[in-house]
């Protein structure tokens, strides 16, 4: 192996995040204000610049490799990074007041969010299993710490512990699978693995390793039966962390899947398709059925996430570029909805009170009809009702499935979506049809309110004009 100077410019987004993480760390030391103002705004600034950097560096520049072929820059990377950074900015924006009210606001939170995003960025641009794993661990370790951010909370610590132990288990399986694949192909570079897979050499070993890799990926997604951590962690973590956890990292998990199983092991599609079907159907069934019985909104969202992951998997199962584009669109739109859902809980909470029960949504329409409307849009979108972005997400996935000839799966997915409609609409029933004796006014800072309204607007706007985002998602796969 000859050493050559890598093109650092291609990694500008990662470098920017890394540098800014250090800057935030230092700046926060000198910040005497109680609300970590400097760290917050610096972080948000970092996210915004990261979006711009991701697009300007990767989008429309063709496929380029650097760092000895271990780093890839392509349209997909650009889109993944931009959407992850945008979602991170949104969720961190929600979290500020929440943390402030609970005396949790410290500069470290923003630092962890930045490092988590750095991990996600690395995953999105990884062209080698080693880099992929490094990014994944960077993300995971930050998330473990974020879940345990409220050190005095018993449930928070318990959730973090569970997440950590199970995460370690899944990482072990992922690493084991990677070592098998390395053994079969003799390389860590994804394009070379793909070449081996295409040649059909060592097929058995590759497929064996692939099975373990799939387990690791499924855990990150939270697909059944590797989903057990999801409800406990979503419920136990501070809501601001749940919001963060539920949005951008899902796109990172998709990046993991796309880089490893599609680009690397796409030729083994016939092998992993059936396994993915099992994961998808299991997720749809368990997610929807369990969500029906929840009274805790955070837990309900957790199960709803699982069911959405099932839907997202359906797009991957199709195995076509249309399907991958649909899955990407689904992940992005789901990220927005999920952030909005948790954002609503944050918005309605106040010092010493968590609005995390479905009953806490009662009479929202009387308290503030604007936020009630946003909640309506979010729930409609999660259900998949036309006019909201969620409709197109489901629509694209189903279309890809039908084109791939998997009509029965599409029918099954729709049946589960109908079951899902029940628990989303039940929330709306609380919002609109249940009255409170004395509706409390909503105490939330202007920033949170604006973010909430913006989220609702985006859900509606993308539902009416989905063309651009669909086109971008398709372009990421060269369609």
């Amino acid at each position: 192996m000859t050493f050559e100077m890598p093109q650092f410019a291609l990694a500008a987004p990662e470098i920017w995040l890394g540098v800014m993480a250090c800057v935030v760390l230092v700046a926060d030391l000198f910040d005497r204000s109680k609300d970590s103002r400097i760290a917050f705004f610096l972080t948000q600034f970092t996210f915004v610049v990261a979006i711009w950097l991701a697009l300007s560096t990767h989008w429309g520049e063709g496929v380029q490799h650097t760092f000895n072929g271990m780093y890839i820059s392509d349209n997909l990377a650009g889109l993944l990074k931009a959407s992850m950074a945008a979602l991170a900015a949104l969720t961190v924006g929600y979290s500020r007041d929440y943390l402030l009210q609970r005396d949790l606001l410290k500069g470290e939170f923003f630092l962890l969010a930045l490092i988590a995003l750095l991990g996600m960025f690395v995953m999105a641009s990884a062209a080698s299993m080693l880099i992929l794993y490094m990014g994944l661990e960077l993300l995971s370790l930050s998330l473990y710490a974020m879940v345990a951010f409220d050190r005095d909370s018993r449930v928070g610590s318990e959730a973090a512990m569970k997440y950590f132990v199970l995460g370690a288990l899944s990482s072990g399986m992922l690493l084991y699978g990677m070592s098998m694949i390395y053994g079969a192909s003799g390389s860590l570079i994804i394009t070379e693995i793909a070449a081996t897979a295409a040649s059909g050499q060592n097929g058995l070993l590759l497929a064996f390793g692939m099975t373990f890799v799939l387990v690791g990926v499924a855990f990150k997604f939270g697909a059944v039966p590797f989903h057990m951590w999801v409800p406990d962690v979503y419920q136990g973590a501070p809501t601001a962390v749940s919001a963060f956890l539920g949005s951008a990292p899902k796109i990172a998990a998709l990046a993991l899947f796309l880089r490893l199983l599609v680009e690397g092991l796409g030729d083994l599609h016939a092998q992993w398709q059936l396994m993915a079907i099992i994961l998808a159907v299991g997720s749809l069934a368990v997610g929807n059925l369990f969500a029906l019985m929840q009274t805790n909104l955070k837990r309900m969202f957790a199960y709803s996430t699982i069911s959405h992951i099932g839907f997202l998997f359906l797009g991957l199962i199709a195995g076509t570029d249309e399907g991958y584009a649909a899955a990407l669109f689904y992940a992005i739109s789901y990220g927005i909805m999920s952030a909005g859902g948790f954002g609503m809980i944050i918005l309605l909470s106040r010092r010493g009170f968590e609005a995390d029960m479905i009953d806490d949504m009662r009479g929202l329409n009387d308290r503030h009809s604007g936020f009630a409307l946003v909640m309506l849009l979010l729930m409609f979108s999660m259900t998949g009702i036309p006019g909201t972005v969620g409709f197109y997400a489901k629509w694209m996935v189903l279309q890809a499935l039908v084109e791939a000839g998997l009509v029965w799966l599409a029918v099954l997915a729709v049946v589960f979506a109908v079951i899902g409609a029940f628990y989303y609409l039940r929330v709306l029933k609380s919002v609109y049809f249940e009255r409170l004796e004395d509706p409390m006014p909503i105490e939330a800072a202007m920033g949170t309110r604006a973010a909430m309204m913006g989220t609702g607007g985006v859900v509606l706007l993308l539902g009416l004009f989905p063309g651009a985002l669909i086109a971008v998602c398709r372009a990421a796969f060269g369609l």
């Binding site: 387990v215 855990f219 039966p225 406990d232 016939a270 368990v286």
Partner: protein
């Protein structure tokens, strides 16, 4: 241009939204100012658009504004097709709407739902414009349903009045029957021509006029089936026999909307539809015959019912039914331009008559029975003169607008050799006599003869706020002008000058207006032609009979009534349609519904399927819930099991077991 078209459509929508959502905040005066301004903008721009088309500077515009969704090859879009046909409709809709808006300020002056009313009529204007400006069937359907909705809301505007609620439900249900056909028609078009876009559909129909489909084992022309189904929709909206029953009842709504929706615009949507679809209808002789015959039946027999009504608005309503029949006769005879021409003239003079009737009703404190009117020309001179002008236009007095449009239809039917044209000719000729008779009956009963006004109502007349009558009379005067003169100036270009160009397609073999144009030597000569025209003498005869019995010798009337008792009873029962529908269809439907509800809904669907499924799912979920125990080692164990599952799939795959 795109921006202008958008502005024309969206201005009333904006007005409706503001007046409807913030009506309480902006107050009554601002609500009517805003909505009138919105319609005035639309009307002004529509006139400008029409002028551009007439002067030849604008060409036909056909563009997509917004793509809602793509489903395979099917595009669901909002788009505008603005050609001369559309431009004429836009002007008719917006100008009549503007007159009605102004008039409403007086008519509804003491109504608590003032802002709501303005919001509705603005919304109606938006919906109607969407309908006529559509360039595809989806948007057409949207406009179609939206005007239906607003019509429903407005008929039941006084929602505490039993009869109004009954009437709007009836209108809604009868229109559902029509819409069912309409929707099937759109489905047929989509299925066989693979598009919803007008131009594409017309092209496909022209390319394959002989395309057939099989229904219940018989082969039928696709174009015939599609046209008949679309026509069922038109029958519902334009109240043609046998779907006419809702229109007379719709008079329960406030009078301004009777003028706007149930005379001038919405009910003519069916006429517009058939004219717009002329490239389809021209390929189906059968469909055109059906249109012709049903139109003729409506024209004659609905006019007859008008003779025995006592409610002033119902007389005009039956007159509207009859005149709509004339329009369909014109369409059925392939004289589409004549149909649209009559639509336009009728919109003005019928709106005028309705608004005049409304002025009388307001002046007499909501008295609608003609038996308690009489000699009103002394109290309401302007209303009297304008309504006389409207009546003269309606019966077809030479030089008045109605003369040109109605005579053109009669002549066109006369020249047509389509099956049923002979019957239609007789029907429309007799219809002229009937029209004249009921119109002058109304005129003499209301404005002449002895005064039969309730003393209470007369007192009310002197206590009206001062602005009310003037603000209602201005629209009357404004509408009277086109009612009188518009036919004289526009007949030559619209019927014989090829004004509509590409917008209306007539097969050369069917072109009766071309035949008629050989006899046409200018508007004035056409008017003089009346002297040798049976229609004119029939109208005169009708007027004389009306004058004789309702003004000169009213004492003879009871004797005549006694002689004609059986006939009058049939007419008063409206040929039994209401009885049949209320007791037969509605009653039977309710019996059937009750049976299905008991057995099917409560027993099977609710009991077994809906609640049963829900219970099953609930039980299943309860069982599974146990797995989510909260113990870390359970979770880890589940992961290991999952891994084992995937590994077994891997092994099975490798062994080729699948």
């Amino acid at each position: 241009m795109k921006l202008i078209y958008l502005l024309i459509v969206l201005a009333p929508l904006f007005g409706a939204a503001v007046a409807g959502l913030a009506g309480g905040a902006i107050g009554r005066a601002n609500a009517h100012r805003l909505t009138i301004l919105a319609v005035a903008v639309s009307a002004g721009l529509s006139l400008w658009v029409l002028y551009q088309h007439v002067s030849g500077t604008a060409t036909s515009f056909n563009e997509t504004i917004y793509t809602w969704a793509m489903v395979g090859d099917l595009r669901l879009e909002v788009g505008f097709l603005v050609d001369r046909l559309t431009a004429v409709m836009m002007v008719v809709v917006t100008t009549v709407s503007l007159a009605v808006h102004v008039y409403t300020v007086g008519y509804m002056h003491d109504d608590p739902g003032y802002q709501r009313f303005f919001s509705y009529i603005n919304l109606f204007t938006f919906a109607m414009l969407m309908l006529v400006m559509a360039n595809n069937f989806l948007q057409l359907f949207f406009g179609w349903e939206a005007v239906g909705l607003v019509s429903y809301l407005l008929i039941g505007f006084w929602y505490k009045k039993e009869s109004a609620i009954f009437a709007n439900l009836k209108a809604f249900l009868v229109n559902r029957v029509g819409d069912f056909g309409f929707l099937l028609g759109i489905a047929a078009v989509l299925f066989y021509y693979n598009s919803l876009d007008y131009v594409e559909v017309f092209g496909a129909a022209r390319a394959a006029p002989e395309l057939t489909m099989s229904i219940f084992g018989t082969e039928a022309l696709v174009v015939t089936v599609a046209c008949l189904l679309l026509f069922i929709g038109a029958m519902g909206k334009s109240a043609q026999v046998p779907l006419h029953v809702w229109l007379p009842d719709s008079m329960e709504g406030p009078t301004p909307i009777s003028a706007l929706i149930h005379a001038a615009t919405m009910v003519t949507a069916g006429i517009y539809l058939v004219a717009r679809m002329s490239p389809l209808f021209e390929f189906s002789e059968t469909a055109l015959t059906v249109v012709l015959v049903l139109g003729a039946i409506t024209a004659l027999f609905m006019g007859l019912v008008g003779l025995v009504q006592h409610d002033i608005k119902r007389v005009i309503a039956y007159s509207t039914l009859s005149q709509l029949g004339y329009m369909f006769v014109a369409l059925g005879a392939s004289a589409y331009a004549a149909g649209v021409f009559h639509l336009m003239t009728h919109a003005f003079f019928k709106a005028l008559l309705f608004l005049g009737a409304g002025a009388i009703i307001v002046a007499l404190h909501h008295e609608q029975d003609m038996r308690r009117m009489g000699n009103l020309r002394r109290y309401l001179p302007i209303t009297h003169i304008t309504m006389l002008l409207g009546t003269l236009a309606l019966v077809g007095t030479p030089l008045f607008s109605g003369y040109y449009s109605k005579d053109a239809i009669i002549e066109a039917v006369h020249l047509s050799d389509r099956a049923g044209a002979g019957f239609a000719y007789v029907a429309v000729l007799l219809g002229v006599f009937i029209t004249s008779l009921y119109s002058f009956r109304l005129y003499f009963l209301v404005f002449w003869g002895e005064e039969r006004i309730d003393p209470h109502a007369r007192e009310h007349m002197s206590h009206l706020p001062r602005y009310v009558l003037p603000v209602m009379q201005w629209p009357l005067i404004l509408l009277a002008i086109p009612s009188v003169v518009i036919g004289y100036f526009t007949i030559a270009p619209m019927l014989f000058g090829g004004f509509f160009g590409e917008a209306i397609f007539v097969a050369p073999a069917n072109d009766v207006l071309a035949l008629l144009s050989e006899k046409f030597h200018g508007s004035f000569a056409f008017a003089l032609h009346a002297a040798v025209n049976p229609a004119f003498w029939l109208a005169v005869a009708g007027a004389i009979v009306a004058w004789f019995f309702f003004n000169f010798r009213p004492s003879l009337l009871p004797m005549v009534n006694a002689r004609l008792k059986p006939v009058i009873e049939v007419l008063e029962n409206k040929y039994g349609f209401d009885v049949l529908y209320n007791q037969g269809f509605a009653g039977g439907g309710r019996l059937l519904g009750r049976a299905l509800w008991r057995v099917g809904d409560q027993g099977l669907i609710d009991g077994l399927i809906v609640n049963g499924t829900a219970r099953t799912i609930g039980r299943l979920a309860g069982l599974l819930r146990g797995a989510q125990s909260g113990y870390l080692y359970h979770y880890a164990f589940a992961m290991i099991l999952g891994l084992l599952l995937l590994l077994s799939v891997f092994v099975a795959n490798w062994q080729g077991w699948f």
